[in-house]
Symmetry: C2
Subunit: 338 residues, 2 copies
């Protein structure tokens, strides 16, 4: 694995262990993924080239490609890198569109396409990355793979819409929050796992393995999102790279606030729009949420999904090294910055 | 064909003749397309449901599905309706995103998703329609079809970006304008024709027919876009449904202005940003462009592409009725409101 690829992937605390458990092929597959992403960014004309290249090389954890490879296992077929690239392209397309909607100037410490090129260029760069995802996946010759990813992409759009529909609401039940996490985050992890199974050795491709690995992906996706939402409240900013309580300032209702509101009627009655209008007020509310014990409970909830993810692996007969690597990833999604 | 479907398709002046030439199956296929679009809008949750349903039922000419069916011919296979639906979904997704970028309140006389639900919901509705297009096409089991459409969708994003990059420019050569039309409009018509060939009778599916029908689609796409740009300058507003010169107000540089600038140095030196700041000034510039004879020449250019489209059909052996219908469509794209 190249130094930049290693660095980009290092957001996952236990990456080194995962790489070790994943076998010698894994580092090679991740490097191929980086190379292909760069190639896609460079091969579609001057206008898009820079925006797409900037986005694609901006890195990130490449957690979804990693999950594709780990589910495919050591006998991964030819289409596996394309599948990993396609999942990452959909993920990036949605980040680019989110940055437009959030008017976000920075992501991962770099200027967003929105900031550097404007809303039109960013919207179209997102559309471009989206369409490249399906072209990439079509190149594998598997309509099942295309269907898997397009269904996840549709769920993602629904989840984002649901989040904005719930913004500022004082009445989001935990179940609805989990449904939203499932749509906006977990479906794509689930798709990554299913794609791994589709392109893995034939034994993996059996319906049983598809379902089990898909379930594993869904559960780690939910855990990932819950933990991400906990980090927004818990910080620390020097680790997360953003102020505490950015979700609160956006009106995004997440599990820590939902649980805190169940414990403290005065939080339930609070109108976020008027109570949290600046980072200092957001910080103050984060403290109040933490004081209720809601962060601990939300972390517990995330860990429950990690356990469910691992349990899903019991249903199939995986090589010990593959299973160990998947378990490390499951643990990793809730141990970031822990 | 149902009354609403007929009405939606009536933007194409010669539709009745096309339907007659296209055979009894055509009306049925167009009705199935409408039904499937409504079904897709209704089947993905409450949040998206209304936005998607509004968009999908808002109609339009359904010109791209029509072209898919005419290229597939009378022995069209099972996947043809899915292909037509997928092409229309990509077209609609880009319209929804364009409306966000243009902050457009109305399209086809109805409130846009942007206007009724805001930029976030509209961006996500576009993403949703986009992903549904690929799911729909994957259901046909043809990776070639998915690749064809995703390549067209990438071109579309590139073309839109190119248009915005060229905005307000005093120096857009005609060749670059044609390249832009090709990317932003013609590639999707080309894809529609290729998809028709893919799902048509096996003789159509041969490489020769794919290329010829693809070329037909590209040429009518370019003609369509040129003529659309002529209409923006020529009006009349009561037929186009918008003020004359909306492109000029947007800074969009189209063939009529490019040709007029070649003829009148004072137009070349004019800075659109300061010279055209309101509808009255746009109207005035439209008059000046028309006075140069540029509209006539741009129409001629469009007709040249129509002739090239028809000539592309010479290379394959099509049933007379199918060929007649395709020729009517080619004529139709430049005879709107004529």
């Amino acid at each position: 694995m190249s130094a930049p690829a290693r660095q980009q992937a290092s957001g996952l605390a236990q990456l080194e262990a995962v790489l070790a458990a994943g076998g010698p092929q894994l580092a090679h597959l991740l490097t191929s993924t980086e190379e292909r992403l760069v190639q896609i960014g460079a091969s579609h004309g001057q206008e898009l080239g820079q925006h797409a290249a900037d986005t694609l090389s901006a890195g990130g954890k490449r957690l979804r490609p990693l999950v594709v490879f780990l589910c495919a296992g050591e006998a991964a077929g030819d289409g596996t890198v394309s599948a990993a690239v396609a999942v990452e392209l959909v993920h990036m397309a949605t980040l680019v569109h989110d940055d437009v909607l959030d008017r976000a100037p920075l992501r991962r410490g770099r200027a967003t396409v929105y900031k550097s090129a404007g809303r039109a260029a960013a919207t179209q760069t997102g559309d471009f990355l989206f369409s490249r995802a399906f072209a990439e996946l079509a190149s594998t010759g598997s309509p099942e793979a295309v269907k898997t990813l397009s269904d996840a992409a549709s769920a993602l759009a629904r989840g984002e819409l649901m989040q904005r529909a719930d913004a500022w609401s004082a009445d989001v039940p935990p179940e609805r929050y989990i449904s939203r996490c499932t749509l906006k985050t977990a479906r794509l992890f689930e798709a990554a796992c299913r794609l791994g199974a589709i392109f893995g050795p034939s034994a993996n491709g059996l319906n049983g393995a598809l379902e089990c690995l898909g379930s594993f992906g869904e559960k780690i996706g939910i855990a990932f999102q819950i933990f991400d939402d906990v980090l927004d409240v818990s910080g620390p900013p020097e680790r997360t790279g953003k102020h505490r309580g950015t979700d609160l300032l956006d009106g995004t209702i997440t599990l820590p606030l939902i649980l805190a509101r169940e414990r403290r009627p005065e939080l339930k009655d609070m109108d976020l729009r008027t109570a949290v209008t600046n980072p200092a007020e957001a910080e103050g509310l984060c403290e109040r949420i933490a004081d209720t014990g809601a962060l601990t409970d939300a972390r517990e909830e995330a860990l429950t999904y990690v356990q469910q993810a691992k349990a899903a692996l019991d249903e199939i007969d995986l090589p010990a090294r593959q299973r160990r690597a998947l378990e490390l990833v499951a643990d990793g999604v809730v141990e970031r910055y822990a």
